[in-house]
Symmetry: C2
Subunit: 382 residues, 2 copies
């Protein structure tokens, strides 16, 4: 196998797929990247830790000899990152001695290979049946929900994000038992003949944001039409395909909690606040929040909200801000981190807070839409 490739292009590709290599090496091949020539004259790079896989393609400046090989992701990325930007890099693989020679200008490297046949097969599960979703809608739904998934156990369904797609809607939701985030959009999905439900590991979606977020930004800057993401589900796995990458993850097995029942149909108490001002006030009050409980008390009165916290033997904090509120005085205590998480992903200037009382679930929403909500359970304080 022999090919020449632009250093910056292969650098970007290696950095992308490297994220899927296994962190702890049980099987050495899982810390390698599979590099294959394609009939179209490009290179396909793949990495997987068996639970999760990323593939991407790189145009070459010439494939002299076709082939398949695997190289250490760590060594490959170290080598390529040290090569001069913009230069051409030539790879010559000698399968007989299991060595790849990488040459660029005055530098040359011999790096051990492992045979491509030992690399696990990454299935292309979207060849027959797939769905299509607007890329920007997908990125927004992930961003607004994934933070609420539980971080403690990757195998628990609460460590995943509920995903529900119909011919006309995209719903994503996550909860860790203390808070819930849900987005339900009316979207023009393509190719969806029946409903699809899945629980996707939060880690896979976070990787999707890291890989895919950049592309979306780029499309927006270039004033291009929003891309779509091609999604397929098969044999307990889900795949996402964008023009840049193919990503695959195992799904979580189990019954997702019936979170819809937790969302109150009606809320009697409503207040409106400037989102950024509320974030700043909350951050200031939180300085004195107990570091174990993170409790901040939010008190509403006509036109004004007070935020207060205290830690015995350390001190007290208090901040007040203007809000739109006409109801009776009300005090609610929260883990302020949950409220900040919710406020940070809401996209509007003003937010709406809705509840039925000091111990009832409290909703945070954009002031002018209902597609997204973040529900936070209050804390009972003496």
């Amino acid at each position: 196998m022999k090919f020449t490739v632009n250093r910056d292009r292969v650098h970007h590709a290696v950095m992308s797929v490297q994220r899927a290599t296994a962190a702890r090496v049980i099987q050495p091949i899982l810390s390698n990247i599979l590099i294959q020539s394609t009939p179209e004259g490009t290179l396909k790079l793949s990495a997987t830790d068996l639970d999760f896989a990323i593939e991407t393609q790189v145009p070459t400046t010439g494939i002299e000899q076709d082939g398949r090989i695997t190289l250490s992701a760590k060594k490959l990325s170290e080598i390529i990152s040290k090569l001069p930007g913009g230069s051409d890099v030539t790879f010559t693989i000698d399968e007989a001695v299991q060595t790849a020679k990488i040459e660029c200008g005055s530098a040359s490297f011999d790096i051990r290979t492992l045979p491509a046949d030992e690399f696990p097969l990454i299935q292309q599960i979207d060849t027959e049946n797939y769905l299509e979703v607007d890329h920007i809608a997908m990125v927004r739904a992930i961003t607004q929900t994934v933070f609420a998934a539980a971080g403690y156990d990757a195998n628990n369904v609460l460590g995943g994000v509920y995903f529900h797609l119909t011919a006309s809607s995209l719903e994503m939701a996550a909860t860790d038992g203390s808070r819930l985030a849900r987005r339900l959009d009316t979207v023009a999905t393509g190719n969806v003949s029946e409903e699809v439900t899945a629980i996707i590991p939060a880690k896979a979606l976070q990787e999707f944001l890291k890989l895919g977020g950049a592309s979306v930004e780029k499309s927006e800057n270039e004033d291009a039409k929003p891309d779509t993401v091609r999604i397929a589900i098969k044999d307990g796995q889900i795949s996402f395909r964008t023009p840049a990458v193919y990503m695959m993850s195992r799904l979580l097995d189990g019954q997702y909690p019936k979170f819809q029942q937790l969302i109150p149909a009606e809320n009697k108490i409503v207040a409106y606040a400037n989102r950024q001002a509320l974030i700043s006030s909350l951050e200031r009050a939180a300085v004195m929040a107990n570091e174990r409980t993170n409790v901040v008390k939010m008190s509403l009165d006509k036109g004004v909200m007070s935020l207060a916290a205290n830690t015995p033997d350390v001190g007290d904090s208090k901040d007040t801000m203007e809000v739109l509120y006409e109801g009776e005085p009300l005090s609610i205590a929260f883990n302020y981190k949950y409220v900040l998480d919710a406020l940070r992903v809401i996209e509007s200037d003003d937010v709406r807070m809705e509840t039925n009382g000091a111990l009832a679930p409290t909703l945070f929403k954009a002031n002018d839409e209902n597609e997204y909500l973040s529900l936070v359970m209050p804390v009972q304080v003496k």
Copy 2:
């Protein structure tokens, strides 16, 4: 005690002195900052972990009532960093209830205080006898030597930097046994009547760079005259005073190795190389260096240098570059990290490499001056 101060100024001051607070709290007062009003209407902020101390002054917009108090550095910096930039902050200390009230706009904080009388005395050891050294010369000498001090033991003399000042020279040197860095400058020192020798903990000098480096840069940008640093040594302690801060550190006790004997008086073998090109080549070759030994082999031949490394079962690397060299072929092996450390602090475009052979100490210098040298001991390889 009651005063009002600009948020950005007090923020900068708290961030500066906070670096001297104790990392692990044995005495709670050592994690506090001492705040005192001065007769000049400024505030003096102090922190110390007993080995090391930093003091700085802040102009106020008004001291209504004089006093002295200590506050938690962590809580104070958290509070101030969350307050709006440019705003005025008012501190009101009620010593009867050991509480400081901090008010700024809509926000107010009550924070526990500890009495100033419990705070250790930070001596001003430069009131009678002191020396003066050019600030830029001092920063350069520290930068070019401190990295070579041993990192493993803060109480060993090798964990310090040798400091020698006469009426006309400033010498600093550091060695960890495998490499040595020394700068010897002819400087116009002020007020030096006799020679001064000390071993200064590397940590104190690194803090000096963090605090003082910024001021030097600022002076240079503003085209101002280089500042001087006032230095005093007394009772096993050293102090540095700049317009911005007063810093004090204990000195290390003991006999510093006679490093001058290690520096060869004459070197038969000399090569010149572009500094940046050598750094890049060395970094590329180092990709395949054994991660335990860090060995890179440097081979010189007429007009060319090759850098090579290898790790069994991983791979080999090789890079070549043009150098000015007329001698016989020669191969020397180094811990490449030591060579990179040396090359990175040399300030000239080209560097001079000098040695007497493959197993002799090798010097790295700027091509056109002798004030600075970095000595690296080669490694014997089979």
